[in-house]
Symmetry: C2
Subunit: 281 residues, 2 copies
């Protein structure tokens, strides 16, 4: 599927128009930082407070002394005013430069904000209508509770998992962890609907606690659904009334093919998708 | 302990004197790359062929189409001629820029070479003589055979593990994996000597297959030692005749304190250290 145009329209480093960064940045040296991918629609940053809060939480978990979230929010708003009607704004916060060399942090680093604004294309209506084809990935996610849930910059597992398929007809790959538990897609969270229960796997050993995942869990009650964070076996997924994916760019996207099998699309998924689409906080 | 001066003396990107890199580099965006830390002594790059070979293997494992190892070797040699008598040359190879945005690689990326040259200080003679104090770390390394052994850029575990202690008297922390198996230090491999057996843990689930680790395994026979890659329990480590650490900068460094206990330094460790010190390939 298309991710819109190939080049970012504008880029900033610490609020200045800039497209390069020191090679000593610990984000490059060690993946020592966090990021957010924010959907921008007609100048509106969707769920921006939640994204910035998660960024902040990730920094706290990694002991990155990032205290510029207000400045960052202002920069994101400025970027949103310059953005085309459908855009993605990605923000990276790193711990700053590795000086001196080495894994150890001296505690005096200045965290760095890197913001890129990308033109995006709306998800094709046919994809939203017909649902996504999803495969099961082979790569097993490693379990580390210290890194789980955070949207950190150590993303080699996602890079390798995304390299497993090339056919444009497959939208996403669902991944299990090293013990065989379903976790998420390479770039999305996954939900299963069965009766009144809406379940998504825990992300306390691996995976990312998605902003849209939290929104869906919060909004489920409006549809008389009982949200649940619980293990989801592949069998349970295949036997669900419906399965859908979430992330900032796609919102709620129904799944219609799962590992070669056809999965029904539930009316409640469509209602939830439409509901989330018109929210922005 | 000191890592020498805080600033690099010279830096290159793709062979050009340069100290910054595109913010779109996949090394920064995803930790999508590999690195080597090479000791340079009086203009000699120690074990440079092994370092470049491991870099190449890492790229192959990550499907990074890096074919510039001759060019890189020439650049490293040029850097070594400009280096002070005791220096570290670090090289990073990334997959190139993330264009378009997203985990997926389009296969047309140009891998990027980033070389930094740092002044270093020799390890204090007193440390070599008296041995290093080593603790046991709390962070458990995640197991992923797809990433194990490679010196890749996803190093948040090492950053977090290095943040566990601040006293300058402790040199290194030994880490176990999520199943409790001893793996390595945060920046070194570990060996235990018992009778004629010299054992180091496998790095097929996590950890890095160190260049100096391979050198020690290769050279062990010269000291009538039987090298072995096998699980090493903490108990086995504590009951060893001797324990030592290896990496490119420290060579072979005896351990004298382990989790608060005193560990003897074996004459064979000193002989091995002296032997490795005068090798360079």
């Amino acid at each position: 599927m298309s991710h819109g145009a190939a080049e970012p329209l504008m880029t900033w480093v610490d609020g200045e128009l800039q497209s390069s960064v020191s090679i000593l940045d610990r984000g490059l040296q060690y993946g020592d930082g966090v990021f957010e991918t924010i959907a921008c629609r007609r100048g509106c940053l969707r769920f921006v407070a939640q994204h910035v809060a998660r960024l902040q939480q990730g920094c706290e978990r990694l002991q990155i002394a990032f205290d510029a979230h207000r400045k960052l929010t202002a920069e994101l708003e400025r970027a949103s005013r310059l953005a085309p009607p459908v855009a993605i704004i990605k923000v990276i916060v790193t711990r700053g430069d590795a000086l001196p060399r080495g894994y150890g942090s001296v505690g005096r680093e200045s965290p760095r904000r890197i913001v890129t604004m990308w033109p995006d294309a709306p998800l094709p209506e046919s994809l939203r209508a017909q649902g996504a084809a999803v495969r099961f990935g082979q790569l097993r996610l490693a379990r580390n509770p210290r890194l789980a849930g955070i949207k950190h910059l150590n993303r080699l597992e996602q890079v390798l998992a995304r390299a497993e398929w090339h056919d444009a007809g497959t939208f996403e790959s669902l991944l299990t962890d090293s013990e065989g538990h379903l976790v998420s897609g390479t770039m999305s969270n996954v939900f299963a609907l069965k009766g009144q229960t809406l379940v998504t796997p825990p992300v306390d050993q691996c995976g990312v606690a998605g902003v849209l995942r939290a929104v869906v869990l919060r909004e489920a009650a409006h549809f008389r659904l009982e949200p649940s964070i619980a293990p989801v076996s592949v069998q349970r997924l295949l036997n669900a009334d419906a399965v859908f994916l979430t992330n900032a760019r796609i919102g709620v996207l129904p799944v219609s093919r799962l590992g070669g099998r056809t999965i029904p699309i539930d009316a409640r998924t469509r209602a939830l998708a439409a509901h989330v689409e018109q929210l922005d906080a």
